[in-house]
Symmetry: C2
Amino acid sequence: MERRSRWTLPSGEPTIRDVAAKAGVSKSLVSLALQGSSRVAPETRRSIQRAADELGYRPNAIARSLGAHRSRTIGVYVLDLHNPIYVDILDGVQAEAHRLDYRTIVVMGSSDRRIERAELDKLMEFRVEGLITMGHRLPVGARDAISDSCPAVLVGAEPRLTPHLLSVCTDDTRGTALAVDHLVGLGHSAIAHVTGGTNSVARKRERGYVQAMERHGLHEHIRCIPGGFTDEDGYHGTIEALDAAVRPTALFVANDFAAIGALAAAADRGLDVPGDISIVGYDGTRLSGLRSIGLTTVAQPLTDMGVAASRELCSRLDDGPGATRRVRMSPDMMIRTSTAPPRKS
Amino acid sequence: MERRSRWTLPSGEPTIRDVAAKAGVSKSLVSLALQGSSRVAPETRRSIQRAADELGYRPNAIARSLGAHRSRTIGVYVLDLHNPIYVDILDGVQAEAHRLDYRTIVVMGSSDRRIERAELDKLMEFRVEGLITMGHRLPVGARDAISDSCPAVLVGAEPRLTPHLLSVCTDDTRGTALAVDHLVGLGHSAIAHVTGGTNSVARKRERGYVQAMERHGLHEHIRCIPGGFTDEDGYHGTIEALDAAVRPTALFVANDFAAIGALAAAADRGLDVPGDISIVGYDGTRLSGLRSIGLTTVAQPLTDMGVAASRELCSRLDDGPGATRRVRMSPDMMIRTSTAPPRKS
DNA sequence: ACGATCTGTTGGACCGGTCCAACAGTCACG
DNA sequence: CGTGACTGTTGGACCGGTCCAACAGATCGT
């Protein structure tokens, strides 16, 4: 007895048998009643419920999963909880999963491969029934999980769909078009783009920018400066753009985080935003909405995307594989104080 | 068969019995070997390991918990994942828990009470052995959990300790002293404080500020302007401070988030930071370190606090209740670009 | 009056592990 | 050579649920 931790289960949590005894029925019936089966007599159901309440009975998810061969749990992989965009999505994922009576287990990616791997293993050990991943980098371990035919939905990426792979994303082409249209509407034509690097999401946004510029007949103004998704990346890309022979009057930056770096770069070069240069970000994180930042940005419906991810996954789990869908949502322009018409020269 | 979801356990995950059969031993021995028991012959251990690897065996955490009466899982309650301070702490919590071979289940507080409650229930249903909570607001449900004698550690708060309640925090009195000392060292004397509201953490920092000012003989300069922990709160408090009859030359704001609001307020009043006014925050979030923000702040060793929380909890779980400790860590001054000597008048 | 059907309930096998009592075999010691 | 201690292994009870086959009793049609 000594060697066993004091805080273990046997300590006395009431079990289904205790409830059965108290209500004077068999444990099977308690199980049925608690699951809401319609085969239980209303009278019996009430007395079982009463017994359970009085004992403070709490179902044991562990035992339930084992017996039922279902965990009613989905795993959520988040690339980086430090990035507010994922937390916003997570809000939606959790709310909807909860509504559909699924539990979630959230794990975070890590630069330490071993920890990331362990976290993913945890998911498998808890026998999650499905997986939601967000972030452009798909963790290596997730591939195994997916190929082991546990269905997954990728948020924000657009992979080739398979029966096991769903996707929820926003229309980045449309989003970038919104950003460019907004700047052109203000009177800008020298609009440069600080890219998000070489990952697929960044590529998409870059292509969208080019298309939109061409649509406006601004071919000769197209300029893509290589950047990335962090504020450092945005800073350096912007410095490069500002120091160019002919300075753009507006900058479209690949995401909010990098756009904040762009703000700093403009300040360092003694330029007023939006007086001397307008800056537009992408994502619509709360961060960008902070008073001292006030970044104009292309807002993705982050929470709604999370909701959609849960909805797709859970309905697939409950109803079996249907037509595999790709949910594509619409971004929205969020105009704040980092954009204005160009100074008349 | 039809009505059962296709993605259920029976699908074929190898079990301990499969491994036993393949290795030609009993399942008990496989269990022993996989737990690393020293009673297993080295030769046998190897062949069991080989069999497990070849089958791609993954232990079933569910079944293990049930049989062992231990889940080796701790619950982590985070008030708000949107606040980067908690994510930094979480990094430490996870890393250390993992090192000590514990799993974590992270749940997030929610403004929707029902969701918050459900998340806490989830923790109990998974039979977590202990709880780590962070955030000044202790969720109602957590009280139950704690009183049900599952030990808990509060990060960042200093409750009355009980055998079940541990605490990890920083020395806020010392932290505020650092901030005031820094400003005094630069030559400031008119140093005002925008408070964090009426919660216990904010109170502590306010007291620390008053003490430090008195220590420097600056009694007559003590000014506390009521604020809060959000950027809005910081904005309004700062506006009030700046519009006062005699304007302070420096501001100590209760946390980073609010200090960022203060930065915006200064900008709105046409004041240069740090030229016209110096601003110091508190927490040392990554946010404050962003290039375009560059906030001088009192940094808490957030990740280390997380590590300490896991360490305390797990050692208590493994070794039983020892002397109940309160871990108090030291904050550190992080000097950036929002502070400078006052303008000579 | 009798089987068929339906409603409500029950016992018990089962899930995949852990862990304990029991045991076979080896070795050292008196 | 018998005995006790130690090493390595095993069968089986057990954890707290789910779920299925079986069943008792009521209702109904013929």
